[in-house]
Symmetry: C2
DNA sequence: CAAATGACAAATAATATTATTTGTCATTTG
DNA sequence: CAAATGACAAATAATATTATTTGTCATTTG
C-alpha cells in the first residue's frame, strides 16, 4: 500500500483503515494503527477526517456502496420482461449479500453493524439508495401491469424493505443461521407478492 | 412481601426476583439480592431453581405470558364479525404492548431483550403461542371468506409475524421512537392485507 | 426427614491503577 | 505555504488487584 502521489489522499487512508479493520476488527483498530500502516503520524489523519467516527463512517459508507448497492445495481440495470420476478430477485440478492458478508467479511460486517447503531443518518441514506432501486423495479412492474398501483411507489418500496427487515437487518444476523430461513423468506415473499399483484389477477 | 405459607414457593421467589429486577435492572441483580429481599439464604433459591439463568428465564416467561399473551388473548376471545380487522387489531396491539413496556417497564423489557439473545428455546415457545393465537384469527377469517386460503394457516401466521418483526422484535426497540413508525406499520399492513385477501375481492 | 442453612471454592464482576488512544495545535518540512 | 509532524492534555481502554457472586454440599433446624 505505497502512496502513488506525494500527498496523502482520503482514499489511501480509507484503504488502510479498511485493511486494518479487517485485521484487528472494529473494537481493536486505533487511528494510530491506521497511521502506522500508512507510515505517517496519526495527526496527519486528522487533517483529512475530523474524527475517528468520521473515518469509520466514510469506510462503512464506501463498503456499503461497493459491496451491496453496486451488485444490486446490476440487477436493476439488466433488461427484464418480468419486473415482479426481478423485484424478488433483487430482494433475495440483498438478503444473500448481507448473509454472505456476515459470514465471509465478518469484521467489516461488524463495523457496519456498529455504524447502524451509531450513525442513523448514514444508514438512512443507504436505505434511501436501496429504496430508490426498488422503486425503479416497482415502476417497471406497474408499467408491465404486473404490480397494482395501490400506493405511491416510494411507500411500496419502504413497506417491502420493512416487511423483509428480519432477513437483511444486521440486528437479525444471528437468526440467519436457522435452517429454515430461506423458506421463511420464500413464504413472506409469496404473501407480499400477492399483496403487490392484488386486483390484477 | 411476607411469606404466606411456611415453605418458600417458586412463585414467591419469582415475585421477589421481579421486584429486584425492576429496582436494580438485569445487570445489577444478584441471587443474593433476591434472597435478601425474601429474608432467606441464597443457597435456598438453588433448591428451587437450578441456576440463576433458570430463574431469569422463569421470570421472563411469566412476564411475557401475563403482560403480552394474556391481553392479546382478550382480543382472540372477543366475538368478531370481521376477523381480518380483528387480525389487524391483534398485531397492532402486539406492537403497542411491546412499545408500552419498552418505555414504561424498561428494566423488565431489558431482561426480556437479554433473554431473547440467550434463551432461544424459551422465545421460540413464546412466538409459538403468538402464532397460535394469530392462527385462530386467520382460520376465522378464512371461514368468513375474508382471507384466502393461499397457504397453511401456521405458515401464514409465521409470515405475518416475520413481516412485522421490525415493529415488535426487541432488537428494533430503538427505532420505535421514530415519529413515522405507526404510519410505516399502517402501510406494511395494507400490503399484507392485500396479500391475505388476494383472489377474494 | 424435607427444607433451609452457611461455609467454601471457582467464576465473575467491580474497582484501582497503568497504558494507550484521541484530538489539538504550535512548529517543522518539502 | 500547504502538508505533515510530534509533543501534549484529556478521554478511553487494558490490565492487575480486590470484592462479590454463583453454585455445591455436608450439616443444621423445625
Amino acid at each position: 500500500m505505497s502512496k502513488s502521489s506525494s500527498f496523502l489522499s482520503k482514499t489511501e487512508i480509507m484503504d488502510a483503515a479498511e485493511q486494518t479493520l479487517r485485521r484487528f476488527g472494529p473494537d481493536k483498530t486505533s487511528v494510530t494503527d491506521v497511521a502506522k500502516l500508512l507510515g505517517v503520524s496519526h495527526g496527519t489523519l486528522y487533517r483529512h477526517f475530523p474524527s475517528k467516527a468520521a473515518l469509520r463512517e466514510a469506510v462503512t459508507e464506501r463498503w456499503l456502496e461497493e459491496q451491496i448497492v453496486a451488485p444490486l445495481e446490476q440487477i436493476v440495470k439488466a433488461p427484464a420482461d418480468n419486473a415482479l420476478a426481478q423485484l424478488k430477485v433483487y430482494i433475495a440478492r440483498l438478503i444473500e449479500l448481507k448473509l454472505h458478508y456476515a459470514e465471509q467479511d465478518s469484521e467489516m460486517f461488524k463495523m457496519y453493524t456498529d455504524v447502524t447503531m451509531e450513525a442513523a443518518e448514514l444508514i438512512e441514506v443507504h436505505i434511501q439508495r436501496i429504496m430508490e432501486q426498488m422503486g425503479i423495479l416497482i415502476d417497471r412492474g406497474i408499467q408491465q401491469k404486473r404490480i397494482a398501483q395501490s400506493a405511491a411507489t416510494s411507500s411500496l418500496a419502504r413497506s417491502l424493505f420493512h416487511a423483509t427487515s428480519r432477513f437483511h437487518h444486521p440486528a437479525h444476523a444471528h437468526e440467519w443461521r436457522s435452517a429454515s430461513i430461506e423458506q421463511e423468506f420464500e413464504q413472506v415473499w409469496q404473501l407480499l407478492e400477492q399483496g403487490l399483484t392484488a386486483s390484477i389477477h
